[in-house]
């Protein structure tokens, strides 16, 4: 039985059909990329699975137990973690406190050691800095670090790459590969296909809320539908 199994996930806002029957499975240590043009439903997909809104229809199972539409804090305690396209640090606190927030929740599962996480995301030297004073990259890393505090079993990473320097990109790619290697399943939303390649070969291509391709990234780039969708924006995988 897969670790995470998503079946026919559909999300409708008023008249807009943002997500239309998306399905996929994930095994531990497996990572997939979620790609597609803006507004294709990538982030909506994450938000729906991570309990920001309950789906209009469709199911999400973790270890075969249904978790569809469960409140976010329950999902988090079950081991679903995520980062945000625009990082959401707790601005009123220091970097360390941001991680320690995890210790305030009554989670059944054992937490990671904050110092270790600080080292992993390379922010140890900023531990006592106000989160608000971090730059965009550091805030994204902090987001990731907060997610890692709960030792997620499935981690959703939303456009971590955008606006990072190549050196930073490869460092993060390594980090994410380690996370996966530790047994966590990864869902990586990315525009930078180059960056994505460093993490995982397999992708799911969305367009207008639909899955139009599932398989290897390099095959995807040859797929006519995908070509049409990415027309113009195909330059983004450099």
């Amino acid at each position: 039985m897969p670790l995470l199994s998503v079946r026919g996930l559909t999300q409708r806002f008023g008249g807009l059909l943002a997500l239309d029957g998306v399905s996929f499975d994930l095994e531990p240590e497996q990572a997939i990329g979620l790609v597609g043009p803006n507004g294709s439903g990538k982030t909506t997909c994450i938000n729906t699975i991570c309990g920001l809104y309950r789906p209009t229809s469709g199911t999400v199972d973790l270890d075969g137990t249904p978790i569809t539409g469960k409140p976010a804090h329950v999902l988090a305690r079950l081991g679903i973690g995520r980062t945000f396209q625009i990082p959401h640090p707790f601005t009123g606190m220091t970097v360390r406190e941001n991680l320690l927030v995890a210790t305030t929740a009554s989670t059944p599962r054992e937490l990671a050691d904050p110092n270790e996480v600080l080292e992993r995301i390379g922010l140890a030297h900023l531990a006592t800095k106000e989160a608000a004073t971090l730059n965009a990259t550091q805030q994204k890393l902090l987001d990731l670090g907060r997610a890692l505090m709960l030792r997620p079993r499935v981690l959703f990473v939303d456009e971590l790459g955008a606006g990072l320097a190549p050196s930073e990109l490869s460092a993060i790619a390594t980090l994410l590969r380690q996370v996966a290697a530790d047994g966590c399943a990864l869902v990586v939303v990315e525009h930078l296909l180059g960056f994505l390649e460093q993490i995982t070969p397999s992708v799911l291509v969305l367009n207008a809320g639909r899955t139009i391709f599932a398989g290897q990234l390099r095959d995807a780039l040859r797929d006519p539908d995908v070509e049409r969708v990415f027309l113009g924006s195909s330059g983004s995988h450099d």
């Binding site: 976010a72 945000f84 320690l100 305030t104 080292e119």
Partner: protein, 330 residues
């Protein structure tokens, strides 16, 4: 690295611990001795009530970002719960005092569904609820319970010694509650929720539950303040305790001092309530005008109150220091 950061934390903590100990002790001792200076106990009891309620606003607004305009409804609920304890149950005053807290918490529980609403809607929904509660309590149909519009006469339990000491205790409790929130894991999670509820819940925090707890703490504080008001005033009409002015004052006191801090609301309440009894009594309209302007100005120019201003000055000073250091090194 970690031990370095840890030591940083410690050095920054020691003065803070002292500061918070003083933040609790100075007001408590001060109010205890105040009677020997100014023996208008009613004035002091009301002032202590406002300290507690300003801290209550601090708890619910400063730590969750939810602003209850209807806070006075909980005050009134506490006052009437106390009154009912006296007139119907014939309990001793201290039991009635507890009942006041319970009554307010009960109303607080009833209002919890309002947290489904976003900030502004919550603010006004609580206002509507509080006004409704006031009208219901004052409705002749409830005369058998609340004595309807005829008000309550609680002269039988009047005891200035007891209600004064109780007020001092209430101040202590309210201050300790804030100290706890500022230093506990629970408080940290509230700050996280205030900054970003969804991100907080993705850290495994049960957001609605924790908001509710903070709300009920604030409710209890208002309830006890109301009960003490009832005890000390001992003859009042519904309009006296279900009065939006109570929210206005508590809110101004908290904002003026600065929410999220320990000293701010205390100072705000003491300074401005004294002012209210000087300015207010000599020239009332001017008072309302000044307070209205104060609120507007605070929002526009000092949204973080005295505390914010102080912090601003400190930062300016630090920056000058840095600049001088740089100049020296250059």
């Amino acid at each position: 690295m970690p031990e370095h950061s840890a030591s940083r934390v410690d050095t920054s903590r020691r003065p803070r611990l002292l500061n918070e100990a003083l933040g609790v002790l100075v007001p408590v001792v001060g109010f205890s001795l105040a009677l020997h200076v100014d023996n208008n106990e009613l004035l002091l009891v009301y002032m202590m009530g406002y300290v507690a309620m300003a801290q209550g606003i601090n708890v619910i607004y400063g730590f969750t970002g939810y602003l209850p305009f209807g806070y006075f409804g909980l005050f009134g609920a506490g006052a009437y719960a106390f009154g009912i304890g006296v007139t119907h149950l014939h309990w001793p005053a201290f039991a009635d005092l507890a009942l006041g807290g319970v009554g307010a918490v009960a109303i607080g529980v009833v209002l919890i569904p309002l947290f489904r609403l976003r900030g502004a809607y919550f603010a006004i929904a609580t206002l509507a609820a509080a006004l409704a509660l006031g009208d219901i309590v004052a409705n002749p149909a409830l005369t058998s319970l609340t004595n309807g519009p005829d008000g309550l006469n609680l002269g039988s339990v009047y005891n200035s010694g007891e209600f004064y000491v109780s007020s001092v205790v209430l101040v202590a409790v309210s201050l300790l509650a804030v100290v706890w929130l500022r230093n506990s894991r629970f408080g940290l999670s509230l700050r996280a929720i205030r900054d970003d509820p969804y991100a907080a819940s993705m850290m495994g925090i049960n957001v609605p539950l924790r908001r509710a707890v903070a709300w009920l703490i604030a409710a209890a504080l208002a309830g006890f303040a109301g009960a003490l008001y009832a005890w000390a005033t001992s003859f009042f009409y519904p309009t006296a305790v279900f009065d939006v002015t109570i929210t206005v004052l508590a809110l101004v006191f908290a904002l003026f001092g600065g929410v999220g801090t320990l000293w701010g609301p205390t100072l705000g309440a003491i300074v401005l309530y004294s002012l209210y009894d000087i300015v207010g009594v000599t020239d009332p309209q001017a008072f309302q005008l000044i307070y209205g302007l104060a609120i507007a100005m605070l929002v526009l120019f000092a949204p973080r109150g005295l505390a914010g201003i102080a912090a601003g000055i400190r930062n300016l000073w630090l920056r000058r220091q840095e600049r001088e250091v740089n100049r020296a090194t250059a």
